[in-house]
């Protein structure tokens, strides 16, 4: 029974057909499948499938990524309302576009995937000062700060990721909070993320979500080890 809904949902996601995806989910709920199972057995495997397929086909259609991430996020949001107990959160991330940069679309794909994967992502919006990234990360108890930059000067500038790194260092937060960057300039120069002091980078929104989860695990692992 579940398999037929998985199949219908995967087909809908593949076709980026949001209405069909919701139809599949609603049909599953109608026969008594729990919202938890919809998320963990239907939605999350579909997102993971997308993540592994993108590493094989890096040129896959960006428009489709936007749409599939949006479907995953919207379906998850609806399902979470129906959960009996709040789900266990994998981790927390604050995400925003670097100071001086108003390109905010790029991080939409990351946000959508993270939401579906039970990572609590707080969107700080665009043109975010470095100080605010750090303050908000602390306020939300986030393991990861994600800084998106679409222009060369906001990617390498003194007020973007570089300054976030400096603040993390000055405040002794480098083990507790990891820094990931993304955006077009990092694609042209695969070592640029190190130049600006980031722990990681991702070439696209879908793999960014996966890398962010790795970073969250690193931080959590470090905390476990530190408490031994």
């Amino acid at each position: 029974m579940l398999n037929s809904f998985i199949k219908a949902y995967n087909e809908a996601v593949f076709e980026t057909d949001k209405d069909a995806a919701f139809n599949a989910v609603n049909a599953a709920l109608a026969v008594g499948i729990r919202a938890e199972d919809v998320v963990f057995k239907i939605v999350i495997p579909a997102v993971e499938e997308m993540m592994s397929s993108i590493s094989q086909d890096p040129d896959a259609n960006l428009a489709q990524h936007f749409m599939t991430a949006q479907i995953a996020a919207e379906v998850t949001e609806k399902m979470l309302e129906k959960f009996d107990h709040p789900p266990e959160i994998v981790g927390r991330v604050v995400i925003g576009t670097a100071h001086g940069d108003l390109h905010s679309l790029g991080k939409r794909i990351v946000m959508g995937c993270l939401k579906a994967l039970m990572v609590e992502a707080t969107d700080l919006g665009a043109n975010v000062p470095a100080q605010r990234f750090v303050d908000e990360a602390l306020a939300h108890d986030a393991q990861v700060i994600a800084v998106s930059a679409m222009m060369v000067h906001t990617a390498i500038g003194e007020n973007g990721a570089r300054k976030v790194r400096r603040l993390l260092r000055e405040r002794g937060l480098e083990e507790r909070i990891k820094l990931i960057v993304g955006g077009a300039p990092y694609r042209y120069d695969a070592e640029l993320f190190q130049t600006v002091g980031a722990d990681a980078w991702a070439a696209d929104g879908v793999s960014a979500a996966r890398t962010i989860i790795h970073l969250i695990e690193q931080v959590k692992h470090h905390e476990v080890v530190a408490n031994l």
Binding site: E15, T16, S104
Partner: protein, 536 residues
């Protein structure tokens, strides 16, 4: 349409030519131009060609004056006097040097209204539409209200990047690059003007001194790069909703860089943010604010600009449409130049690709790409997600099996989806911000990259344009240039643009989550939903 076959030292060509058009006018639209040193009056005699055969007009008095009896019996004709009545073949022994500048097809130009009796000296005026991808120019006799000639060609700044941000960043990175970017645009404008003066007035230097006014409209980034002032502000989000001063810091020093000793050279102030004065020129040329409320204007390009007239206020905005509709970033994409596929029609089991000038297809321009996507979608070869259905493979779909340049690949569809989603979302968003809905829109003026060759039904089927009644949608070509020409001929000139700016309200799309939601909603290849004022 008549078919003109041209045999020249550079090769053989075939062009579709409107009947009644002179051979010179026809070839001015292409890469194979005749030599010329007058405005096509037959005075200079430089455009002599050999008529091989064809149904053509008889020799004119000018040809009797310029060509001797032996020449005439040997088939010599003046290309500017020779008009086609049917198909014809000519031989062109000494073609003009290849030029990056071509004439704008006359059917795309708007008639000029009136001249300026107040202009006594330096009668010539130059109107410039400085676009990210192409530059369009007209030289006018301001006093007589007469157009001497037009030219269009690529903006050579393209080497620094197809989109405006790359170029602004290059200029910011070093003063040397900034100077180079300015020099490239300035040089292009000057060369186009010189080409007109040489070919259509017969003299260059004396005529440069006759130019009394140069009026330049363009998007904010292009104007800032030209004057070297304002680019830094544009890269700072704090200014994206403000007016940006793109006038040169030192007007006299800047003027000295141009070879127009007696001209007032004026960059028409942009509205603010990325909304330039090219949009104001569009608004003027289409009479948008002169008409009823509910008039929406779209200037499609790399930097797409929109204006919405609600009867009192002109709501304006801009969006990074991406250069897809101008043929950049598309595997076999090209601007609307000869050889560009501008229309595709089903033809039996296959397709028929129509190209500009009837030349062999070299790639797709914007309207051809819209047709390609709409036809593939309608026939189920392409799915609404933007994926090709099997059995179309990774290499894409080829419309003419014999010609590689007619291929559309998956990445093209992606670029197309994002460009059309940005355009559609910007329209919907602007309507909402003005408190209006699609039901209030009486008129939609589509200007910019598509010219007049866009298939409106196809654009509606893929969700690029709303499904309004077809009579409500107007296609305008070269509207920015037309508005700039009008300003050259208006007594107040460019000051009228300032009055228009006073009516505008600038909307910034980059700071609203609503816009992003709409953008994602519009990515699918399907008609736009117009049901409510908020389309979802």
């Amino acid at each position: 349409m008549a078919l003109l076959s041209v045999h020249s030292t550079r090769g053989n060509y075939r062009f579709d030519v409107a009947e009644g058009r002179s051979v010179r006018e026809a070839l001015d639209l292409t890469d194979v131009r005749v030599r010329a040193a007058c405005g096509g009056t037959g005075v200079c005699g430089a455009c002599v060609i050999h008529l091989i055969s064809g149904d053509v007009s008889p020799p004119t008095p000018a040809e009797y004056l310029k060509l001797g009896p032996e020449q005439r019996t040997a088939g010599r004709r003046l290309a500017c006097q020779l008009r086609l009545k049917g198909d014809a073949a000519i031989r062109l022994e000494r073609p003009a040097r290849v030029s990056p500048w071509k004439s704008i097809p006359p059917e795309n130009l708007q008639p000029l209204i009136g001249g300026r009796a107040d202009v006594q000296t330096h009668r010539l005026g130059v109107a410039v539409d400085l676009g990210t991808t192409s530059i369009r120019i007209a030289v006018l006799d301001r006093q007589g209200g007469r157009r001497i000639a037009t030219r269009y060609g690529r903006n050579p700044q393209g080497d620094f990047g197809a989109d405006v941000l790359n170029r602004l960043e290059a200029a910011r990175a070093s003063p040397k690059q900034a100077a180079e970017l300015a020099r490239l645009a300035r040089g292009a404008i000057v060369r186009a003007v010189r080409d007109i003066l040489a070919r259509d007035l017969g003299e260059v230097t004396p005529m440069l001194a006759q130019i009394g006014q140069v009026l330049i409209v363009g998007n904010t980034a292009m104007l800032a790069l030209l004057t070297g002032h304002g680019g830094d502000s544009l890269l700072d989000p704090a200014y994206w909703q403000n007016a940006i001063d793109c006038r040169p810091n030192d007007q006299a020093a800047w003027h000295a860089l141009w070879p127009f000793p007696h001209a007032e050279i004026r960059v028409v102030d942009p509205v603010g943010g990325f909304v330039g004065s090219d949009l104001l020129a569009d608004v003027w040329a289409t009479g948008l604010v002169a008409g009823a409320a509910g008039a929406l204007l779209l200037d499609i390009g790399t930097n797409t600009e929109l204006a919405l007239w609600d009867g009192k206020t002109l709501h304006v905005t801009s969006v990074a449409g991406g250069p897809a509709f101008e043929g950049a970033g598309i595997c076999h994409g090209m601007p609307a130049e000869p050889g560009a596929i501008f229309r595709i029609q089903p033809h039996g089991q296959r397709y028929r690709c129509q190209t500009l000038g009837g030349e062999p297809a070299r790639g797709f321009c914007g309207s051809g790409l819209v047709d390609a996507v709409a036809l593939l979608l309608a026939e189920g070869r392409l799915k609404p997600s933007g994926r090709f259905a099997a059995p179309v493979m990774a290499e894409g779909y080829r419309f003419d099996p014999a010609n590689r340049s007619t291929t559309v690949i998956g990445a093209d569809i992606d670029a197309f989806q994002r460009a059309k989603a940005a355009t559609a979302a910007a329209m919907s968003h602007l309507l909402v911000r003005a408190g209006m809905g699609w039901g209030d829109v009486q008129r939609l003026c589509v200007c910019g990259a598509f010219g007049r060759t866009l298939n409106i039904e196809h654009a509606q089927a893929v969700g690029l344009l709303p499904s309004l009644p077809v009579h409500a949608i107007e296609l305008h070509s070269d509207a920015s240039l037309a508005g700039c020409e009008r300003a050259l001929l208006a007594p107040q000139g460019a000051d009228d643009f300032s009055e228009l700016i006073a009516k505008t309200r600038l909307v910034n799309l980059s700071q609203t989550a609503d816009y992003e939601d709409r953008y994602i909603e519009q990515l699918r290849l399907r008609p736009m939903m117009l049901g409510s004022s908020v389309p979802f």
